[in-house]
Symmetry: C2
Subunit: 210 residues, 2 copies
Amino acid sequence: MARIPVAQRRRDFIDAAVEVIATHGIDGATTRRIAEQAQANVAMLHYCYDSKEDLFADVYEHIAGRFREVIEQSDPHTTVLETAQSILRGVMESYFESPAFGATTIELISWARRQHGDRGIAVYDQAMTIGLDVLRRVAAEEGVGTEVVDDIPYVIGALADGFAINYLTYGDRTAARTQMEITSGVLHSWLSERLHVAGKRSPRKQASRA
Amino acid sequence: MARIPVAQRRRDFIDAAVEVIATHGIDGATTRRIAEQAQANVAMLHYCYDSKEDLFADVYEHIAGRFREVIEQSDPHTTVLETAQSILRGVMESYFESPAFGATTIELISWARRQHGDRGIAVYDQAMTIGLDVLRRVAAEEGVGTEVVDDIPYVIGALADGFAINYLTYGDRTAARTQMEITSGVLHSWLSERLHVAGKRSPRKQASRA
DNA sequence: AAACATCTTGATCGAATGACCAACTCGGGC
DNA sequence: GCCCGAGTTGGTCATTCGATCAAGATGTTT
């Protein structure tokens, strides 16, 4: 009943997997649970994906893509400080809007860590790299040295992850809103101080630009 | 062969469990793997613990206790700034010294989150509470209002967790040392600014003290 | 309406898991 | 010396896992 094309089914399975992973963890995300969440059959899942591993690869890609969107969306901002703030805020907002997305991200990172070395680091590393690219671009236009911005992605990542773990643990949306402000303030304090110090040592070397 | 008293066996199983959880995750930590790591038998494990759940409860307590030690060890420091720095540094150092401890902590927190509500939050919440107690005590002696320190444990926790995830993901000890410095600097920037502002609004109300 | 590809399902397989048990073996107290 | 309890072990159980299959249902093309 209700015949659904494979492409749409795959998307349903990915969404279902995100939900189940968030609720039961990576290892608790069994094919049966995912199938049930997607209102489908275990056999149906294997009709769309050769193996559970293949489905998870798509989930991985899905999460990574969503990060890419959030980060690149913060591109048009003018200064390094504003851009960094925008990225951090965007990521935290994503976690806030969809706890399942946040929880699954943490689960995937933990899962990736276990698979020694290899491709495992992908999600984390990809987000870091994209963030760094965006910041470097803005920094170049602003005339800020790369050595100043190279540490920023780590700090943003650490603050965002720390916020996520706290929010996901307590699940308190009211407290989370406050903590987003605090977290944002922490980045602001550190970064403005850092940019100020760096600015003094090497006063604006304006980039050539229209 | 080599008969070992139950008490010692239990400790061995706890240590083994921490190691296995760090490597294979909570759900990957099977009784057989834990037994093997402890150079024992699956039946032996059930001789020491009625169930896997009971063993994990002890692991939970073990981790929580270690956190307690690290945080309380940072008590004797004089100022709020120094104390906060010392706690953050102590926690990060713990993760750095024993990645298994760090990884297991993250795993346990994630695991706790899944068991909806209940006692799950224990490890995280306990560490937060202890940290807050220590800081409040120091703040009282220093004459700093509690409203200023109440947010500090969250920031310390977030920074420490963020550092842990990054370090555990990449496993780069050299990079980790640098990031510990950066992370420490972030806390310093935020906290000194915050204490300065708060100090201006309500200039020292010296606590009576020898 | 016949033929065909696409989707859907219940049943079943081997492997791994947590738990349990009956039997064995030490080692100190009587 | 013998004996009783603490420690130890291999083997077995039901359950759940990912995966596969054969067969059925549905929609489209001719």
